[in-house]
Structure formats: structure tokens, C-alpha cells
């Protein structure tokens, strides 16, 4: 029982991290109908920027304080993501208005290639560390309930808390600010939003900026867990089942989908994996999402698809 709970907790926390990446997909799809394959590249780009700036600032400015360095790096990397968002809207999306979904998908794949190349040209292609002072040693919970308690990685726990905070902040931003209201309006209906005077172009920039910040936070957490390296881009591929499971247009869907996929992955790896030779995590998530889709083609929380001729 203790072991099962451990696996479950581990799954939930990994799931939280998947949700973070999935959130980036959902935000952009909701506001602009673009399926942003570049989210993974954005995570890598942001993480590379963060890692390298945190290394460079103390050298350039001659101070030792690690917290200050991380803070500065976070701000500068965030600004860089804003610049990326602006450029993407300006140079790509603006020219592809009203194009087919597949063409937009391909354009974001082009952006993926560009960002992968640009990030490694600017910041180097080795493995870098992000050290934001997350405690590494595991801790025990429920020691009074079970014998031996439940082993939980503190790092994962912190990451999950950060992810939860980000989600709360985003929810507040969407529900309580006027910009958030405009974003929701655009997500509901482009034309109606435009006709009451909401500038679509600016909304797209804002939503890509928000996705950039989400990518930065995701990159920071994944980077401090796994190290900042090229394989970070595969995180996006692992977050895709989360997105379609939760529904492409639903923020809560991204979170609940993330938790389901996270738990499903971990449990399947431990209880089914040994039977078939292991390593089934990655496709099991996809098959799980596929089975859900067969029953609800729009995902768990997606908008109902209505067919009209």
C-alpha cells in the first residue's frame, strides 16, 4: 500500500509538470486556433536562456549572490520570451491569418526548428544546470499511518507547488483583469470579439507572451530536475496526450489531463511494464488518451463538436 501510494504521488507530481507544458498549448490554441508545436522548443529556449544568464550575470556584474543571479536571469529570460512572442506574431502569424490548421501547424514546426537552432547558437549546446535551490533529499510522509511511511521527493513537491501557484495566478489573470476578459472573449469567438473592438493582434502577442512565461517556468522546473539539454524538447511530445485528453480548449482539462496521464504513466510502467519488457511510459500515455478520445472525441473538457453542413 505504501509503495502504491508512493507511485501515485510520484505520478501526480510528474503529471503536474506535464500540465505546465500542456497549459502552454491550450492557451495559444484557445486564443488563436494555432496548435503550437513550438511549445517544446520554447521550453528549451527559455531554460537555456535562464541557465546561461544565471551563469553569466555574476561574471559580468561581479557579484556572488545566487538568488539575485537567478532572479535577474528569470527577468531577462522572461523579457526574451516576450521578444520571441512579439516576433512570432509579427513575422509569422500575422501573415498566416485564415490559413488551414495544417499549414499553421507546419509553420509552428518551422518555428520549432528555428528556436532549436537559435537557442543552441546563442547559448551553446552542452548540458547546463539550473540551480534555484530546490531541496534534493527525499522526505517521508504518513509515517504514523504506514510502516516506513511514504517516500516523496521534496524537489517534486516544490515543483508541484510552483506549478499550482502558476495555475492559480493564470486563473486570476484570466478571470479578474480586463486583459484576461478580452482573452476569454477572443477564445470564445474571434469575430464577435473583433467587432466590439478587441485588437486581435495584440491579444495574440499577449497570449504568446503568457505561453512564453509558462514555458519559462516549465523549463526552469524541468531544467533543474533533468538538466538543461536538447532532450528537453521531447517534454512537449510527452505533454501532447495530456492536451488531447483534457481537450484542446480547456485550461482545467490540461491540469486534470496532466494528473491522469502522470498517474497512468507511472502505474503502467510499474505494474504492466515488466510484463512486456519495460519502457512503455511514452506510448502508454498516447494509447490512454486515444481510448478516452474514442468515447469523447473532443477530450474530457473540450467544447462539444457540432457538425453542420
Amino acid at each position: 500500500m505504501g509503495f502504491f501510494l508512493e507511485t501515485l504521488m510520484g505520478g501526480l507530481m510528474t503529471g503536474m509538470l506535464y500540465s505546465l507544458v500542456a497549459l502552454g498549448f491550450v492557451l495559444i490554441f484557445k486564443a488563436s486556433g494555432v496548435f503550437n508545436f513550438a511549445q517544446g522548443a520554447m521550453v528549451l529556449f527559455a531554460a537555456l536562456a535562464m541557465a546561461r544568464f544565471a551563469e553569466w550575470f555574476p561574471q559580468w556584474l561581479g557579484f556572488e549572490n545566487k538568488i539575485l543571479a537567478n532572479l535577474l536571469a528569470f527577468v531577462v529570460a522572461g523579457a526574451l520570451m516576450f521578444a520571441v512572442a512579439w516576433l512570432v506574431e509579427r513575422l509569422v502569424l500575422r501573415h498566416l491569418v485564415n490559413q488551414d490548421g495544417a499549414v499553421l501547424l507546419m509553420a509552428t514546426l518551422g518555428i520549432t526548428y528555428f528556436l532549436d537552432g537559435a537557442g543552441q547558437t546563442l547559448f551553446g549546446s552542452d548540458i547546463y544546470k539550473i540551480d534555484i535551490g530546490m531541496p534534493k533529499e527525499p522526505m517521508f510522509l504518513f509515517q504514523s499511518v504506514f510502516e516506513g511511511g511514504v517516500l516523496v521527493s521534496q524537489e517534486d513537491l516544490y515543483a508541484a507547488v510552483i506549478a499550482a501557484l502558476l495555475v492559480i495566478a493564470l486563473t486570476l489573470f484570466f478571470q479578474k483583469t480586463s486583459t484576461g476578459r478580452a482573452l476569454r472573449a477572443v477564445a470564445d469567438d474571434h469575430q464577435a470579439a473583433q467587432s466590439i473592438g478587441i485588437p486581435l493582434n495584440r491579444i495574440w502577442i499577449i497570449v504568446w507572451c503568457v505561453a512564453g512565461v509558462v514555458a519559462l517556468v516549465a523549463g526552469m522546473i524541468w531544467g533543474s530536475k533533468l538538466g538543461v539539454q536538447f532532450s528537453l524538447t521531447t517534454v512537449a511530445l510527452r505533454a501532447l496526450p495530456v492536451v488531447i485528453l483534457g481537450g484542446l480548449t480547456s485550461v482545467p482539462g490540461a491540469i486534470i489531463g496532466g494528473l491522469i496521464i502522470g498517474v497512468g504513466e507511472k502505474l503502467s510502467e510499474i505494474y504492466i511494464g515488466p510484463l512486456v519488457g519495460g519502457g512503455i511510459e511514452i506510448w502508454f500515455a498516447y494509447v490512454l488518451a486515444l481510448v478516452f478520445l474514442l468515447f469523447r472525441p473532443q477530450g474530457l473538457f473540450g467544447e462539444k463538436i457540432i457538425d453542420r453542413v
Binding site: 496548435f35 501573415h95 490548421g101 518551422g110 526548428y113 532549436d116 547558437t121 474514442l294 453542413v309
Partner: protein
């Protein structure tokens, strides 16, 4: 003046329903095939064959297959790499396990198994569509990546997971030299290209296009969505599977699952979109573009670097390649979202009314 159908009167049904109804088209295609089959083998170097021509032909074939599914039937698929892999491994298993099987039969057998897998993974398309389907087809990709890595039977218990084939021959013709390999692949491309071209203008092709344009309306006028969608998956994955088998057997000779990774799927989709959705000729243009671009960048960048006096490291070249490739794709999509095939048809239209455009 040169290219117009005036004065070409069709007197039989057969003449009216041939694949290329305009005589000039027929001559150009025949001349192209003759050029590719006779002139190219005489002038091309071994490097040209190995690095450019053979990959180009095989990927064109695969792109034709993907275009049938994505361009004609409108089902976006990111699992083409997996269907190539299934074709390659199935052909390999037939080749080594069935005593004395002819090469062509093994390759077509690879296509047959890819068809079966394609139909199974096409079933979700009956419920799910659009981008949801694109992500769902990734399931095929990751599942088969895993299967060929972990299930040892598929790779005949090879310790490193990589498999080899050798001594390819068809009816006593040993396919060993690059030129032979080139001709072998060319034959496949021509046959399948013409078959595909013929298929998409027939009843079944029209059903696919109706489903693509609006599946509900198509169902209303009596097209069975299940039959149309699954037949598109079947035909597409058969061609892609044969291309995969050729890629493994003829181009690589020995391969491991990484040869058919998700990047291959993206590459094929790029070819189809850049070449033009819903065009057989476009798939071939797209394949040429995507195959040649990285090679060109790889050669040109160090030269350019020398010109401006910059020191160019290999790491920089590979990263810059990524950047330029990505930027060019985006630029191309903005300039011509309908692909190279559109330019081709615009050129034909212009030629038709030349030299008096009014």
C-alpha cells in the same frame, strides 16, 4: 502556343479518360521518365546517387503515400514514420524467414503489413478528427518505435537491435551498384506514381476528396465515411510501407528503429505541405525541396562563412542549418501556402494562353 489542347479531338472513350488527356503532358512526362532512366545514370556520380537521388526517389514515393491520406482525404497523420518502419521490418522478416522469397514480393509484403497496421491505427479517424487525430496518430509512431526496440523477434534477436540485408537481386539482376539501386527505386516511383494518379481521379479518389472537403456533407450524399477513410489509410500506408521497405533495403542496407523516428514523420508532412496538398506531382516537388535543402545548406554555409571572414564550426553549421531550414519553411508557407504544385499549375495556365494573354 506550344501548350494547349486546341485541335486534340477525342474520338474514343479510352482517349477521353486517359491519365494525361493533353498530348503535351504525355510527352513531357514520357520525356522526364526517359531522361531520369537513361540520361541521369550516365552523368550522375556515386555521391549524387547515394546522397541525393536515391533518398529523393524513395522519399518521393513515401510523400505520394502521405499525400493520399493528408492531401486527398484530409486526415492529418503524424505516424507516417511508423508505417515506413512497419514496412521495412515486415519486409525484412519476410526476406529472412521465408526461404527464397523474391525481393519484390518481400517489399510488397512489407507494404501489405503496413496496410494492416494503417487500417488499425486509422480506426480512431472515424471518431476523432483534425488536430486531435494528428496527435492520436503519434500513438502509432511511439508504439512502433518501442515495439521494434523492445520486441526482439522483429529484429531476429540481433543483439544491437540493428538489422542488415544483403544480396538483393531481381530475376538475376543484382541490385548492387548505386546506378542499379537508383533505377530500381525509379521503377517503383513511376509505377506507384501513375497508379496513385489514376486512383485519385477515379470514384474512390473523389470519395476521399468529398470526405476531405466536408465529411458530414459527404455522408449525406451517400459516401460511406468508414469505407472512404479506411481505404485512404490502407492505400496510403501501403505506399508508405513499400517506401519504408525500399528505404531500409536499398538506401540504408542496415538500419535500426531510429531511422524511422518521429522526425521522419514530420519531414514527410513537410514535403506534402510544401509540395502541395492534393497533388501527386507536388509530393515529388516537395520531396526534392526537403531533401535538397539541408544538403545545399550544409555545403553553402561554410563557403558563405569564408566569404564574410567568419570562422564556421561544424556545431555552428548544424545549428544554423536548423535556423535557416525553419525560417525558410515559415517563409515558404507565407508566400505560397498552397505549395509548389500551385506554382506548377499557375505556370501551366500561363503557358496555355501564351503569347496572347488577353
Amino acid at each position: 502556343m506550344l501548350y494547349r489542347e486546341n485541335g486534340q479531338f477525342k474520338t474514343t472513350y479510352a482517349a477521353d479518360s486517359q491519365i494525361f488527356p493533353i498530348a503535351q503532358d504525355r510527352w513531357v512526362i514520357l520525356a522526364l521518365i526517359a531522361f531520369a532512366a537513361v540520361v541521369v545514370p550516365m552523368v550522375a556520380s556515386t555521391y549524387m546517387f547515394k546522397a541525393i537521388l536515391i533518398p529523393f526517389l524513395i522519399l518521393s514515393l513515401a510523400a505520394v503515400g502521405v499525400n493520399i491520406l493528408v492531401g486527398y482525404c484530409g486526415q492529418i497523420s503524424l505516424g507516417s514514420g511508423a508505417f515506413m518502419a512497419v514496412g521495412a521490418y515486415a519486409a525484412y522478416n519476410l526476406f529472412i524467414r521465408v526461404e527464397g522469397i523474391p525481393l519484390i514480393l518481400a517489399l510488397l509484403g512489407g507494404g501489405f503489413f503496413a496496410t494492416l497496421v494503417g487500417i488499425i491505427f486509422g480506426v480512431p479517424s472515424l471518431r476523432v478528427r483534425g488536430l486531435y487525430l494528428a496527435v492520436a496518430t503519434l500513438a502509432a509512431q511511439f508504439f512502433w518505435d518501442w515495439a521494434f526496440l523492445r520486441i526482439k523477434w522483429f529484429t531476429n534477436y540481433a543483439p544491437s537491435g540493428s538489422v542488415q540485408v544483403a544480396d538483393l537481386s531481381v530475376l538475376g539482376w543484382a541490385i548492387k551498384d548505386p546506378a542499379d539501386k537508383y533505377l530500381f527505386c525509379l521503377a517503383f516511383l513511376v509505377v506507384f506514381g501513375l497508379l496513385a494518379k489514376n486512383l485519385v481521379r477515379g470514384a474512390i479518389g473523389r470519395e476521399w476528396m468529398a470526405i476531405r472537403d466536408m465529411d458530414v456533407a459527404a455522408a449525406v450524399i451517400g459516401i460511406r465515411p468508414m469505407y472512404a477513410k479506411l481505404s485512404a489509410f490502407a492505400v496510403s500506408s501501403f505506399i508508405v510501407g513499400v517506401a519504408g521497405a525500399l528505404w531500409g533495403f536499398v538506401h540504408l542496407g542496415g538500419w535500426e528503429p531510429a531511422a524511422f523516428s518521429v522526425d521522419r514523420s514530420f519531414q514527410l508532412l513537410f514535403m506534402v505541405i510544401i509540395g502541395g496538398l492534393g497533388s501527386i506531382m507536388g509530393s515529388i516537388f516537395g520531396a526534392a525541396f526537403i531533401t535538397l535543402l539541408p544538403i545545399f545548406l550544409n555545403q553553402a554555409l561554410p563557403v558563405l562563412g569564408d566569404l564574410v571572414g567568419m570562422e564556421v564550426t561544424t556545431a555552428f553549421v548544424s545549428h544554423a542549418e536548423f535556423m535557416i531550414f525553419g525560417a525558410l519553411i515559415v517563409w515558404f508557407l507565407i508566400v505560397e501556402p498552397h505549395g509548389l504544385a500551385r506554382l506548377w499549375s499557375v505556370a501551366k495556365q500561363k503557358l496555355r494562353i501564351w503569347p496572347f494573354p488577353h
